[in-house]
Symmetry: C2
Subunit: 229 residues, 2 copies
Amino acid sequence: MTERQTSSVKPSGPTGRSTRTPAGRSTRTSAGKSAAKSAGGPAGAPADRPLRADARRNRRRVLDAARDVFLEHGTEAQMEDIARRAGVGVGTIYRHFPTKQALVNELTEQWMAEGAVNAADALALPDAWEALTVFVRQSTEIMVRDRGLREVYGDIGKLLDNGAGTEHQQLRANVTKLLDRAHEAGVLRADVGYPQFQALMCGLAMATTRAAPGEHHVYADVVLNGLKT
Amino acid sequence: MTERQTSSVKPSGPTGRSTRTPAGRSTRTSAGKSAAKSAGGPAGAPADRPLRADARRNRRRVLDAARDVFLEHGTEAQMEDIARRAGVGVGTIYRHFPTKQALVNELTEQWMAEGAVNAADALALPDAWEALTVFVRQSTEIMVRDRGLREVYGDIGKLLDNGAGTEHQQLRANVTKLLDRAHEAGVLRADVGYPQFQALMCGLAMATTRAAPGEHHVYADVVLNGLKT
DNA sequence: TCCTAACTGGAAGTCGAATTCCGGTTCCGG
DNA sequence: CCGGAACCGGAATTCGACTTCCAGTTAGGA
């Protein structure tokens, strides 16, 4: 007992059990994104370190493998599958991420960041409605081919809504701007704010889950159409 | 080894594992709904029997408890919780339903049947668009307060789409008629058939999951609006 | 009322998947 | 080129469900 995890994962779940939360002792990594919010280690911890070359390489491999596996099988894919895909042992995954949930969170932030960029790109368009349309269509495209993303999107409410990651803050800010512009132009239903929009995107993700290839635009169109005043 | 289960549950899942499928030896019950599709027991089975009074009572208790628990916690609720709620032991649940999945399936059929009735009611309305509107709104209302239903609805594709229960056949028939009438009246997008509509309802279920109370009508409105030609 | 097949509850058994542990291997400063 | 701190891999452990088992209880016909 030398260090203490500050982030960890909230159990949530129905009766209180279900998803485990096993304390997951830190392995002093996480040097990647998300600036160290160190709570000041009482026992003079060596703070953050550079991370050896091979370790950094493996960390990336794990992240990439996890993205691929989750993309195809969703977050219920197993750690062993990820490890195999990454060409490492499960132990290596755990050296970099204290729990499976931590791994999922890392990827979630990555997804959020990409979404924020897409929203920013859309904001560059002059027409407010076209911007929204482009963003929705693009997001749909992405979700159609990423099962992991769809799942995570369905849980955003529980995991990140209460202002967790910086990436999400950015995404929210950009999308809100997108919506505000559309409101000002008078082309978007007044009763649809960010929360409602997010929920609808969730729904879109769900709907597209079973869409035949090349058919998902129907769902995006229905939602877009329904959003118009 | 005297009897053999015919229904059972397909594993599905990502890598092939996940939801178990442990053979679940039959306990010769299932006297309830769904006419016995007996495959003709090779060893002269006693066929269906009346089911003792207390057994019938407990079966109903279990079903009711399961509905309540799933409604609140979703299908990830535990068998023990259901048993406690029903005031019986888990063994009793298993005498009536070979697996948890079988219990879920039974409730699913129940839900389907209710949905079919609602669709039939809507069909009684003279105006095609109004009928569709009423059905969508009503379905939304129901899903808002039943987490289990939402989850099951999201899995219909895997579990029942390929024509499983009679209840679903009925639901599908009624809804199809609802859609056809709307098409004929020229008020419904031509590219939305039963599969698309079902997917959209799924999405609606997802969206409403996080709706603030009394706000879910927004989502239903958006979808309905989007469905119009 | 009595007998026995059915039914009941819940402790014990299984099982899949996450997480931990540790002997062997690999970077990298001196 | 060497030594040892870091890092690896994957077998072993842990954990939380679901499912099975069986000694005891009960419904309901003779």
